[in-house]
Assembly symmetry: C2
Homo-oligomer: 235 residues x 2
């Protein structure tokens, strides 16, 4: 096998993996959007679909991990090519976790709708953070598809806004619960949904970091740049 | 280079990585233990140490990811050996996240102690779940060190108990907040700490799953066995 042949085969295999990762990305993006719809309208069938879609996401995770292993063994990539495969393995884990969080949102939404949200406008409470996280996820997948490092850099700063939104939601819900303890159960459900959304933002930011790692070979995890130099509590 | 030489070199390199992963494991285990102590006694210096230790954990993550990449490129492991490296890459991510959660516990603990826990016995509230998660983490690292698949299998069932403990804490805190809304802020801090502990349990369970994967080459993620056949909400 000539070097060129091996390299072409490598490119083909990698392209197959890349398409499947983007397929998985599209799936969790839809899953997240549907979960937010369920939170809004309490549609039980839609909730079941979100939870069921998680099986497909989980299957894709295992398939893709296997595909990455096989690629490494068969094609023995160079250090440079291997960087892309390593980053892909990490991206797959983040996508799977986004699917988990979407399923959690759907389950909590059903819980909330069955019991009634009371006086809380739960949809309005998470509207801004949900839109922010959906944009961030969409743009991170887009940056991954186009290997657009500049866009990825911008997204890392956007996650800081989502973290701030979450802390503000938490403070408001605590005030609300104190003023009217009958809203505590519904407030808690809303808070878990906000937390799941904030985590989806974190995973999208991780994906953006891996895009930069692929393009630049620079590991920016745990740098001031990546954390937005925040030293506030991120709970 | 003969096959034998290459294989010996591979073993040496892998052994170096394994020791460093176990070092990282010991570090996050201590970090978690210290964070729980801070939650108990509110010691500000100790909290700073937990948060500072996270830098070292983050550095180890990047170093270990690099070491794994270099191992793959230089030694070109067989499918079987590569499985161990792939699982190691995933274990490193879980260890890093445990460090994050420990730092969160320390930050929330300081927050709680500065403001006062009021009538909540916050230490008692998380005592059982903290002990359960500490045992699970310790035993998962032990199973990883000895590649003890049977122990790893037992641990996966233990995580179900931790998830149940968490749901019970959440129900109790909600009742508490409803009965006395003045406890809401302190209850919320305690709840975030319980949530961080529950997540540490999840990460320890992931490590146990990777031990089984290394030993058996069986991917048990997302099977009924791995989830303990739970279909309850895991928020």
């Amino acid at each position: 096998m000539t070097g060129e042949h091996s390299s072409k085969q490598y490119d083909t295999d990698l392209e197959t993996i890349r398409s499947k990762v983007l397929l998985m990305g599209g799936l969790v993006e839809r899953q997240f959007q549907e979960a937010i719809n369920v939170f809004r309208n309490g549609n039980l069938d839609a909730a079941e679909r979100v939870i069921k879609d998680d099986d497909q996401v989980n299957r894709l995770e295992i398939e893709l991990d296997d595909a990455c292993s096989h690629l490494i063994v068969r094609r023995q990539p160079t250090a440079n090519d291997l960087r892309t495969v390593m980053a892909t393995i990490k991206v797959i884990t983040d996508l799977e976790r986004i699917g988990d969080e979407a399923a959690k949102i759907a389950r909590t939404a059903i819980h909330l709708h069955k019991r009634g949200a009371g006086t809380i406008d739960h949809t309005e409470t998470v509207r801004v953070i949900a839109a922010g996280a959906a944009d961030l996820l969409h743009d991170a997948l887009d940056a991954l598809a186009r290997l657009d490092e500049k866009q990825a850099m911008r997204l890392i700063a956007q996650d800081v806004v989502i973290d701030r939104d979450f802390r503000s939601i938490m403070r408001n819900l605590i005030t609300f619960m104190m003023e009217d303890p009958r809203t505590i159960s519904a407030s808690m459900d809303t808070l878990w949904v906000a937390k799941a959304i904030e985590r989806i933002g974190d995973h999208a930011k991780n994906i953006a970091e891996y895009v930069i790692y692929i393009v630049e070979g620079k590991d920016i995890r745990h740098t001031d740049y990546a954390t937005g130099q925040l030293d506030e509590s991120d709970v």
